[in-house]
Amino acid sequence: MSADQTQLAFDWSCRIMADNGCGFPAPGLHSFLFKPIATFGGFEFNKVMLLALITTLLVVTFFTLAFGKAKVVPGKLQMIGEAGYDFVRRGIVYETLGKKEGEKFVPLMVSLFFFIWIMNIWSVIPLAQFPVSSIIAYPMVLAAVVYVVWVSMTFKRHGFVGFFKNVTGYDKELGGVLPLVMVIEFFSNLLVRPFTHAVRLFANMFAGHLMLVMFTVASWYLLNSWMIPAAGVSFVMTIVMIGFELFVQAVQAYVFVLLACSYIQGALAEHH
């Protein structure tokens, strides 16, 4: 059983057909709340923060080992690191922003990708089993970083008036509907965009975690009397969902970075 459910609202004795009269302990918001591990004078340090810091440690350690003493003829670790680095650099940044413009965004995108990916992967790691990005604060921070970069790039590239033309999709040929389009574009670009950017990652991980918890809890809950085969089905579903989550985690990290790139591309594009 994953550790987070033992912290809040999980009762081991709750089984189907058991006579203690408790129902299925369905996962819910309480699956995303943690009692603080330690408190430093009002600052409550909980498991998710620990995982976030371990993520940092892990990413930094891995890439220090891989790239710290980089050699022209790479070792195994460096080869893996380079493959990941090259995937983000060539596959995402150069594809969307081009080699010349994209070069200075490579560090941001590479760190975003690996940070998010590892944060997501905690979802299926035993004992951790909680995707850090399913707490909205973390995707929000990252989306805010991208938002700040994007907005400042737009200002820098187009100036103050150009900025508003860029974010409102100003186009004289539209004629009468132009004000309407401008209002919609303004809201969708400046307000909805960062929100969906963060929520997309958050909601994916949130839903994924709910699914995993649901099936794991159900495997335990059903493990009684004649429902044991159902528990087996539930357990198989858990395994399947773990595989699917692994895919979704990578895809979400990819999509987050890809969207960040395409926002910045919109900022860099010459408006006509």
């Binding site: 022209v72 380079e82 560090p107 975003l112 973390y138 970083v145």
Partner: protein, 182 residues
């Protein structure tokens, strides 16, 4: 215990889209560390190495190109030499053939000459023999004839002068007849 837990959960229950403050802080710090590591240290490091590698690969390609060019020139040189050698061989063969031809011609001429010499020698020998035989024959025939005539005539015709006159006349007649018959 359950009630306790549920109560705790209910107390802390909140909108999942409203970020808790401390977590924002931790998230910012965590990402900032990763970003600065990548930005300041790791990516310049690896980029340098990648550039070096590219340079090395390009250097290797250049070297390979140079070697290819060299190999090409060597091959051409070799081909030229081979060509030359072939020409030389052909020339030598030609020369040898010519020499052989002249040699053969010389030999043939020599042989011809020798043959002719031998033939000539043979001819003169035969001529001499024929002459000797003819003169011997003439003498014998004359002697026989005179003997016969002497016996017939009963008179010695042994007078030499007469004898040779008669014989000569006889033989001359004979030759005239032979000439006429021919």
């Amino acid at each position: 215990m359950i009630a306790n837990l549920v109560q705790l959960a209910a107390e802390e229950e909140q909108n999942p889209l409203v970020p808790p403050g401390p977590e924002l802080l931790v998230g910012t710090i965590a990402f900032a560390i990763v970003f600065f590591f990548f930005w300041k240290k790791l990516l310049p490091n690896i980029n340098k190495v990648l550039d070096e590698r590219r340079a090395a690969i390009e250097g290797g390609i250049e070297e390979a190109d140079a070697m290819k060019v060299e190999a090409q020139s060597v091959l051409e040189q070799y081909k030229a030499q081979l060509q030359e050698a072939r020409h030389e061989a052909a020339r030598l063969r030609q020369e040898a053939q010519e020499q052989g031809a002249t040699l053969i011609a010389e030999m043939r001429a020599e042989g011809q000459r020798q043959r002719e010499e031998i033939i000539a020698a043979g001819h003169s020998q035969i001529e001499a023999d024929r002459k000797a035989a003819a003169s011997a024959l003439r003498q014998d025939v004359g002697k026989l004839a005179t003997d016969l005539a002497g016996k017939l005539v009963g008179e010695s015709l042994e007078d030499h002068a007469r004898q040779s006159r008669v014989i000569d006349r006889f033989l001359d007649d004979l030759e005239e007849k032979a000439e006429a018959a021919r």
